[in-house]
Symmetry: C2
C-alpha cells in the first residue's frame, strides 16, 4: 500500500480566474449528499425542479431545457451536432477562442462552415452579421455572448430578427454570461444556447445547461440523418428528462445534478436582477482599483464583461511570476491570456460567489504586493483606496 | 421565492441495481472538497495520481489512460470515434443492450458496421468471433466484457490473438467489470477499453476511465480525418492530461476527479485480488439465498457476473410491485430488465461498496417479505438460512 497516494486535501483558493469560480459550502454539501439511482423517484423530482429553475435562469419557456452530462464544451457540441446535418451551412462569428472552437466543432459535424472574424477583444456589429448572413445563407448562426478568452460582451438584443428573416437559427454560447449578465433566451429570440455550471452559477464544472426553442426542436425532430453523437443525442436525452417516458439513456451524473440544483436555488433566491447588479457593482469597484494601480483593460468600456475582466499586463511585469505569487502567497487564482492574448493579458474573474466586495479588496491589495515585487511603480494603497471610493 | 424548490435531501438507499452502487462516505467527502482550478498545480497532481491508479486498476502500462469527462457511455463514444474514421470497418458483438449501443455509436461515427449476435444472456465462443473477423476484415472489433443488461460475462483471455492476427484492434466495454472481476488490459492484449465510475469502483456517475494501447494510440495519431467529436478528441484531451504541455482543452470536472481519486485509493487499499474474491463470495452467498427462495438465474452458471445477478422474475410475481415495495419499505433499489428482458428479469447488483454480506442478508430478508406480499410460496427464512450456510 506504500505506493497509494495520500487522500485529496485541496488547498483553499479564491477562484478569480475564468472559471471555475468559488463554490458555496451549500453547493459542496449538496454535491456530497448520498447518491441515489438515476431512475429513483427522488432523483426524477430533482431533475424536474432543475429543469424549472434552468428555464427561469435562461428566461425561457422552452420545453427542451436540461443539463447535458458533460462540461460547457459538451454543451457546445450538443447544440451543434443536434442542429447540423452533414452539408448544412453554418456561419460562426469568431472573436476569441470559443468562437474558433465552435467553428472547429461545426466542421467536425460536417457543416459547410463560413466564418467572420473580429480581432480578439472586439465584437460584431449588427451590420457585419447581417451582411454575412446574407451572403452565407446559413442554417445556423453561432455566436459567443461572453467571450471567456477576451472578456468582451457581444450585444445580442437585435440580431435574431435578421437571422430569423433569413430563415436561420441563432445559436449562442452563454457559458460565461448566464447568471452574471442578462440572458434573455425568449425575448431575444435565441434558438439554442448552452452554458457551463462553473462560471456565474458557481457550481463545480461537470454539467452544461442547454435550451432549444420550439423551432430548433422541430429541426431536430425532422432530421434526415442520425445525430452524429449518441451521447449528446437530444432526442434520446430529452426522453429521459421528460416527465413521461423517462426512457433510460445514460446514467446521469447524480451528484453533479444535486449541486446544480442547489446552485440554481441560490441564484433564484438572490434574484437575477440583483445578481446582475452585484456583478456590475463589483466590476466597477475592481475597475477603479485597477486603474489606480495603473492596470488598463484590454476591452473597450462599452463591451466589458463584469464577470471577466481582461486587463493588459503592465510593461515589464512577468505574467507567470505574478500569477504564481498570487497563488502561492495569497491562494488567489487568476487566469492568463488565451490564444493571441497569451502573455499579454490577465483574466480576472468575478463570477457568481467570487463576485464579492471582500474579494475585490483582497485582490487589489495582493496585486499591489505582487507588482511591488516586480519593481513596478505603484502608489501604495492606491488600488484599495480607489475601490473603496466607488 | 415561494416557487423555489426545497434543498436536496436525498433518501438513504441501498443501491443494489445495475449502478450506481453505494458510495463510501470517504468518496462523498472527497467529492465535496473545495474546488480548485483545472490548471492549479494541486489539481494537476491529482490528475497524475489518478492516472497512475487507473493504470493499476486496468492492469496496464498504457500511457494514454485517463478519465473522460462524461459518464460510461461517453467513454464508449470516445473509444469508437477516436479509432474509427468514416468508412472504416468495425465488427460489433451484440448480446445485450450495450453491444447494440456500441453498434449504434459506430454507425454514427460512419463506420461500416458488421454485427454478430447472441441471445441476451449468452456469450460468444472464440470460434464465432474468429469466423466473423475472418469474413468482416474489420479495423476494430468491439465487445462487452460484462453485459450490464444481461448479467453475462464474456471470456476475453484468448480473443486478442485472433483479432491481432487479422490486423484489427480489440475494443472492450469494461463498464461493469472493472474493479469487480479481473480486467487484464495488457495481459489480454486489449487495445482500447472504457469503464464507468459508478459500478465496481463505487464512485458517483460522471467520469469514464479509458485506456488505449500504444498500437491504438498510433492509429489515433495517424488519422487522416479529424476526430468527429471535439469534446472526446483524445489527441487534445491527452495533451491536457500529459505531464508536459498541460494544454487547456476543456475545464475538467474537478470534484468528480477528486471522488474518483478517493475511490481508486479504496480499490487499491483493498487490493484487486481481494476485491474480486469479495465480489465472488457475496455473489455465491446471494445465489444460495435466491435459490432457496425459488428464484432462478437468467444466465448459465459459468457465465454469471458476480456483481450483477440477473434472475428470472418468478411466475405470477409483479415486477414493478416488488421493486417499488423494496424501495418504499426497505430503501433497496434493484434494477428491472432492459430490452427483451424487460418485465422478465430483475438485476441485482453487488458492486463495489454494495458487495457486502450485510446487504446480501438484508436483501434476501426483504425479498422474502415482498414475495410473501405477492402471495408467492416461500419457505420462511429459507433465503437467509441458505446464505448463512455458504
Amino acid at each position: 500500500m506504500s505506493n497509494i497516494p495520500p487522500p485529496v486535501t485541496p488547498p483553499r483558493r479564491i477562484l478569480m480566474g475564468p472559471g471555475p469560480s468559488d463554490i458555496s459550502p451549500r453547493v459542496l454539501a449538496a454535491l456530497g449528499a448520498p447518491t441515489v439511482g438515476h431512475l429513483d423517484p427522488y432523483f426524477l423530482r430533482i431533475m424536474d425542479e432543475t429543469q424549472t429553475m434552468l428555464r427561469q435562469a435562461f428566461r425561457t419557456e422552452n420545453k427542451l431545457t436540461l443539463a447535458v452530462s458533460g462540461t460547457g464544451s459538451s454543451g457546445m457540441e450538443a447544440c451543434v451536432v443536434n442542429l447540423i446535418e452533414p452539408g448544412d451551412r453554418m456561419l460562426v462569428c469568431i472573436n476569441g477562442v470559443f468562437g474558433k472552437r465552435m467553428a472547429d466543432v461545426a466542421g467536425r459535424a460536417q457543416a459547410e462552415v463560413t466564418t467572420i472574424e473580429r480581432p480578439f477583444g472586439e465584437v460584431f456589429t449588427l451590420h457585419e452579421i447581417a451582411d454575412a448572413v446574407k451572403s452565407a445563407q446559413p442554417k445556423v448562426v453561432g455566436i459567443v455572448h461572453a467571450e471567456t478568452s477576451t472578456g468582451a460582451r457581444q450585444p445580442l438584443e437585435e440580431i435574431s430578427q435578421i437571422i430569423h428573416d433569413a430563415g436561420a437559427l441563432l445559436l449562442v454560447d452563454c457559458v460565461t454570461s448566464l447568471g452574471g449578465i442578462p440572458v434573455e433566451i425568449d425575448a431575444w429570440g435565441i434558438d439554442a444556447a448552452y452554458s457551463g455550471t462553473q462560471k456565474c452559477l458557481s457550481c463545480p464544472p461537470g454539467l452544461a445547461p442547454v435550451t432549444f426553442s420550439p423551432r430548433a426542436l422541430e429541426i431536430i425532430q425532422n432530421r434526415k440523418s442520425k445525430i452524429a453523437s449518441w451521447y449528446l443525442d437530444m432526442q434520446m436525452v430529452s426522453n429521459y428528462w421528460s416527465d413521461q417516458s423517462r426512457a433510460y439513456h445514460h446514467t446521469a451524473p447524480i451528484n453533479m445534478n444535486y449541486a446544480l440544483h442547489e446552485s440554481l436555488r441560490i441564484v433564484l433566491e438572490e434574484g437575477l436582477e440583483a445578481r446582475h447588479a452585484r456583478h456590475r457593482a463589483n466590476h466597477l469597484m475592481l475597475r477603479a482599483g485597477l486603474e489606480a494601480l495603473g492596470v488598463e483593460f484590454a476591452v473597450a468600456e462599452e463591451h466589458r464583461l463584469p464577470m471577466l475582466n481582461a486587463v493588459k499586463i503592465p510593461e515589464g511585469v512577468d505574467d507567470k511570476g505574478v500569477r504564481s505569487q498570487l497563488l502561492r502567497e495569497f491562494g488567489i487564482e487568476i487566469g492568463g491570456g488565451l490564444g493571441p492574448m497569451a502573455g499579454k493579458t490577465w483574466r480576472i474573474g468575478l463570477m457568481g460567489e467570487t463576485s464579492a466586495r471582500r474579494n475585490v479588496l483582497l485582490f487589489l491589495a495582493a496585486l499591489e504586493a505582487c507588482l511591488k515585487s516586480q519593481g513596478a511603480d505603484v502608489t501604495p494603497g492606491a488600488g484599495v483606496a480607489a475601490a473603496n471610493g466607488v
